[in-house]
Amino acid sequence: MNFTYKPKNPSKYAVNLRALKNSTTMDWDIPSGQTTLIIQCPFGERPNEYMEKICLALNDYLGDITSDCFFEIMPDVKARFITAAEKGRQHGCLIEARSRTYMVFAADISGDDCVIYESQMQAMTPPYVDISTEVTVTVEQQTKSKGFISKSIVPTGYYIIRFDKSTFINYTDGDLVYKIGSLSIPITSQMISLGAIYIKTTVKPEVKPGKKGIRLL
């Protein structure tokens, strides 16, 4: 298929991309019957700034572009075409991954040709949305009781990092790290699934986002 990128057209638009807090879908506005191209890219990027590259990558893509899921066209950049009818049925589109930016473009597919229109970047109804992941993590020192008569609580030499599993959606390894001194150690999805990890240290580990788009509650 041949993809071409054309300047914005008042009758061909996809704008006001939005996702409600904790929602699993996102929605946007289009004129009746308009097909949409959704680009998913690293958090904070604006794919309209490199649409020529994206069109070239789409030209080279050998898979089925009408697939009902996102497909990778460039390293860390995915695309999905969604017809007006599909959008209506699903009330938008499922958010495939969080800590990502999504941007919509109006697209016309006719035979082997596809025209993609430049998005209208209006502040009130932007065609993009940065979807962050908000997670809950606690760090506590492990302690134990000591003594028979007058018991006291003493540290065991371990810290425990606990994860609220319900807040971790589409988590990928290294999205969070914990730091002790200058050492940064990635937190993996395997650790999240266990709910807690143990770190043998007397210094309190500091949990931090490992990339953009993660927020610690």
């Binding site: 050492l183 650790m191 143990y198 770190i199």
Partner: protein
């Protein structure tokens, strides 16, 4: 050693008359300064392009011209007679006029120039001797105009009373040769100046009109250069043909490409060793565990450590890999340093043809850089970590391109180099061969001896030439090396000749050879009648040499002028002319 021969006796002025005669001054001064270099500031030449306009330019020895008036000429003349003058005899002055007829259209113009000469002479009240040289341009273009013939036919009408001696020199020689330019005529003219203003015994000729016969014998520099350059090109062509084309992809190739035995390019391996910091034993203890009874140790295998740390070890290594990739691909200064280092290595290890072969086999080359197999997780954790980072970098197209790009860029230079080499070979084909077989064989052998003496060094240096500049540097260094390799290249002409003639198939005595060559002079004028015996026979060379003694013994009637220059010998014969007998055409 120059500048220790005979010196000028009287102060002198030289006038070059006629459009374009400044060029003649350049040639003549060049030769005068070879013999009299210490007189650089005291030899004064003036150029007058047009007698009607009358503008006079003072010519400096480095070719610059400055317009001067008659007062300034008088000032210049005065300085030649002051207490700082180096001329030997200040009781008189010699004045040399040269008229170049290249742009003269009518015979009457000579009269006007003579008028100008008389005007200039009238301003010099000192005892003076005046020489006029008529430089006839008789090439085909000027022959058609017939000006030279008309000038010679009108000679009787010219008033030469103020001139002591007149010389007529032409670029059309007695043997029919037409000289390409006036440089030889001017060299002869400057010899006449030396002979007529000589601090030595000197020549004393009666007033009259003269022409000269001339022969020159020096080192055949042009022929020697041809043979040497041709031999250098031939030897380099052999080097080029015997390269390793077709046998490049063998077991030795990875090492030549700078790939270590562990499969990682050395530059990358050094970077990983020096710049990638793995956790210390203590830091390793800070890795997570699924419960407080799990143990962590650096003695564990990577697999076991990964299991205990819930994938944190592998993920940590991935973070390092990403950072290394980012650092390597975005740090432009680092990339430039790496590029230069790798280019140096490839330059030293591969010929241009080999580089082209590498690029033609890009896929195979890529496999060599990225052919590392994934390390086993059964290795100890830290050993695995280094191997994994190396593997990851070698599998990364961005990192591999840092190496491949160097070779691709060098292939472009290699293509240009091959084109240049072809041009060099083509230019060699259009150069005439050197006829003198003795000279050819002698210098070819010397040149090949030089290459053989370098025991492979020259071959290797040639094989690693990758650019026009390095080729030019190589050829320059080779030619310099050849010249210093054998003293024959710096020997005086007669010694060079002696050594070369000894080696010929029919050895000839160089003294006889030189004598015959010098006796074989050619008149620099085509005269109607045959020339009489010369009034003066001279040889200009460095005296107090063996060849001078030999010549003097065999040709005692010659006058020997010491030029102090042992790179050449010249013979000048001066013939008196009769206007009717010799000049009427």
């Amino acid at each position: 050693m120059l500048g220790h021969g005979n010196l000028p006796r009287y102060p002198m002025l030289m006038y070059y008359l006629g459009a374009g005669a400044d060029k003649d001054a350049g040639w003549a001064n060049e030769n005068l300064l070879l013999v009299w270099p210490q007189y650089e500031k005291e030899l004064h030449s003036f150029y007058v392009p047009d007698f009607e306009c009358g503008d006079i330019y003072h010519l400096s020895t480095d070719g610059e011209r400055k317009r001067v008036d008659l007062g300034e000429i008088q000032d210049i003349t005065s300085t030649m007679f002051d207490e700082k003058s180096h001329f030997k005899d200040l009781t008189g002055i010699q004045i040399y006029f040269l008229i170049d007829t290249s742009e003269v259209e009518t015979e009457d113009e000579i009269n006007k120039w003579i008028g100008f000469i008389n005007e200039m002479l009238s301003r010099i009240k000192r005892r003076k001797k005046v020489y006029l040289t008529l430089l006839l341009n008789e090439d085909f273009r000027h022959e058609d105009r017939g000006t030279a013939n008309r000038i010679l036919n009108s000679f009787e009408s010219y008033d030469l009373s103020s001139i002591n001696n007149t010389y007529i020199l032409s670029n059309r020689l007695g043997d029919g040769v037409i000289l390409r330019d006036m440089s030889n005529c001017c060299r002869l003219y400057s010899d006449i100046i030396m002979l007529t203003n000589d601090s030595g015994e000197g020549l004393s000729l009666p007033s009259g009109i003269y022409t000269a016969g001339y022969s020159y014998l020096g080192k055949p520099l042009e022929e020697i250069a041809k043979v040497v350059v041709e031999t250098v090109i031939d030897r380099c062509t052999e080097y080029k043909k015997s390269g390793s084309a077709g046998r490049l992809f063998n077991d030795a190739l990875p090492a030549r490409l700078g790939i270590m035995e562990n499969g990682v390019p050395k530059l990358l391996n050094d970077y990983i060793t020096n710049s990638v910091t793995l956790p210390t034993e203590t830091e390793l203890m800070l890795f997570p565990r699924s419960n407080d009874s799990d143990e962590i140790s650096s003695e564990m295998t990577a697999e076991a450590l990964d299991h205990v740390t819930m994938g944190a070890w592998s993920c940590y290594l991935k973070m390092i890999e990403k950072k290394v990739e980012k650092d390597l691909s975005t740090d432009s200064q680092f990339k430039r340093v790496w590029y230069d280092k790798y280019k140096k290595l490839i330059t030293e290890n591969f010929s241009t043809d080999e580089i082209l072969e590498l690029v033609e086999n890009k896929d195979k080359l890529h496999d060599l850089y990225s052919g590392l197999s994934r390390p086993s997780k059964s290795l100890k954790a830290f050993v695995y970590a280094k191997a994994q980072i190396g593997y990851s970098m070698c599998s990364n197209p961005t990192i591999i391109s840092l190496f491949m790009d160097v070779i691709s860029d060098m292939a472009e230079d290699a293509n240009k180099m091959n084109l240049l080499w072809d041009q060099l070979l083509n230019s060699r084909r259009v150069v005439f061969e050197v006829d003198d077989r003795n000279l050819y064989e002698f210098y070819r052998k010397k040149t090949l001896q030089y290459f053989d003496d370098q025991s492979g060094e020259k071959r290797h240096a040639f094989e690693v030439i990758h650019s026009e500049k390095s080729l030019s540097d190589y050829l320059q260094a080779t030619l310099d090396g050849i010249i210093s390799f054998d003293s024959i290249f710096t020997k005086p002409f007669y010694q060079e000749l002696e050594e070369r003639l000894e080696k010929s198939e029919n050895p000839v005595d160089n003294r006889i050879y030189i004598r015959n060559k010098l006796l074989n002079t050619v008149p620099y004028l085509r005269t109607t009648g045959g020339l009489n015996d010369p009034l003066a026979s001279t040889i200009l060379l460095k005296t107090s040499t063996a060849i001078h003694s030999s010549l003097k013994m065999n040709l005692p009637e010659y006058y020997y002028y010491d030029t102090g220059d042992d790179d050449k010998a010249e013979s000048v014969l001066l013939y008196q002319l009769d206007i009717i007998q010799h000049l009427s055409r």
